[in-house]
Symmetry: C2
Subunit: 260 residues, 2 copies
DNA sequence: CGAGTAGTTGATCCGAGTCAATCGTCGTGG
DNA sequence: CCACGACGATTGACTCGGATCAACTACTCG
């Protein structure tokens, strides 16, 4: 139900990179025809994950990195007391498990929030391929670098911004990401529970609930459960960066995709 | 006031990687003799930075990545209203400016907190060298991956832990890092101001001050301005991870749905 | 239908921010 | 050599944002 907007048709999981609608956004972008063919030889696709299925779990042996093809993935860790901490929500085009390369085992867990198609890239083959395709190495460096920059921005968010600012930034990021995939930036489904948004933003779920209510009453949003409509983007952006974030704010989100 | 030109190429600091005391920690570790020689050919060393000098500034054109050889570097950004946000303190052996690779310009600023020696690595040469030395590429992937994992941990810290927990984690991290460089893990100088610690941890400097006082009174620390002595490491560790940070979690914890 | 779960709303409390006063140290100049 | 001002650190008093606790509502699913 709440997946209607994000699902792609069933045949896509057989499709090649060449005619994938994400080919300009993902790891394989900027490769020429020959290189793409080589790349494609190491990519594996399989049956989609269903909601609640894990792609990998923390402390599993590390083998692959993954790209989300459609659907969405929640990335988190579980602590000893059972509490979880959510590091991110991955939408189509994004690369998963980069944080796990150094350790030999997955540093976090990844679970599908809805029916989700995945491209699987065995890491050793990939590393070897990077030796043959400088573009590919370069691209991974760049993606890793953006991940670091993005993580820094989130640290800033968590360390210095209050609840409504965090929430506004979150909504705009979601909007952007969803927009990148060709859907409406103003009307979209949030695939995650309130509790997960709260956890991700370092807040209590009651706080998120109150913010939804308030933004709804103030005419900034129109909220119907998980269906969100942004009614006043200007105001939302003003809340997200009050005095203005540092110069090129949110640029990191677009650089994977934007042309160079 | 402006130090943009402060990297002067004297060939004076000839200390080679081969007999550098950091060679097992830094980017060049795990290279064989031949590879190390190639690597060394692209590394540049120059006069040390003095306290308050910038290594680079945010939005400068991106050219190099850097390794701290001795001293320490503060990494931060400045926001439009002049407020700053500190992302990290870099001690010897650490690699700087990874977050800037994707953008073509430095995403943050780096300033010396004391007299600091630096190894400078022109990024284009480095990228080319990675094509010839698989180990080097692998190493950079790993360092980038650890940076991401580290950033995730800090997000967890900022999102979910209270002031004394953050502070304890910070002290232990400092202790570890300093210990890695062969100094005492229990008695050390903090090179940064209280305000900077506070900023880094997302707290007010008064809070940090109170924590120093409290930990001192409780016999956990002995504090003399910037000289710190850890008197009760056990207790400090207990504060840093109350129920235990994230675990080597085993799969028996069967939650909602799972298994693929 | 009924039970279980997610979300909302209200009441209360507490940790840490803010404001303000004071102290100590350092560096400068008379 | 001391007086002075500047700045960082400490301490206290007060405030407030958001967590926590506790009902209550509304779906969803069996």
């Amino acid at each position: 139900m709440d997946n209607r907007h994000n699902i792609v048709n069933l045949k896509t999981y057989q499709a090649s990179c060449t005619n994938c609608n994400l080919k300009d956004f993902c790891l394989a972008s900027h490769l020429d025809v020959m290189e793409l063919e080589q790349f494609e030889r190491i990519v594996e696709r399989s049956q989609p994950l269903q909601r609640g299925q894990h792609l990998y779990r923390q402390s599993d042996k590390f083998h692959n990195i993954y790209i989300v093809k459609s659907g969405s993935i929640k990335n988190y860790i579980t602590m000893q007391d059972g509490a979880e901490c959510i590091f991110g929500f991955y939408l189509p085009g994004e690369l998963l498990a980069l944080d796990s390369i150094a350790k030999g085992e997955y540093a976090s867990s990844a679970i599908a929030q809805q029916t989700t198609y995945i491209c699987k890239i065995p890491y050793p083959s990939f590393e070897r391929l990077c030796q043959q395709i400088p573009h590919l190495q370069e691209k991974l460096f760049q993606i890793a670098a953006s991940k670091i920059a993005e993580a820094y921005n989130r640290q800033l968010l968590l360390a210095q911004r209050n609840s409504e600012e965090r929430f506004a930034v979150f909504l705009l990021n979601q909007s952007d990401q969803i927009g990148k995939n060709g859907y409406s930036k103003n009307v979209f489904y949030l695939s995650m529970a309130r509790q997960d948004i709260a956890n991700y933003l370092g807040l209590a779920c009651e706080t998120i609930s109150r913010l939804f209510t308030r933004f709804n009453n103030e005419g900034i949003l129109q909220v119907k459960k998980k269906l969100i409509r942004i009614r006043d983007q200007k105001r939302l952006m003003a809340i997200a960066s009050p005095t203005g974030l540092y110069p090129v704010q949110t640029a990191y989100r677009s650089e994977l995709n934007s042309e160079s």
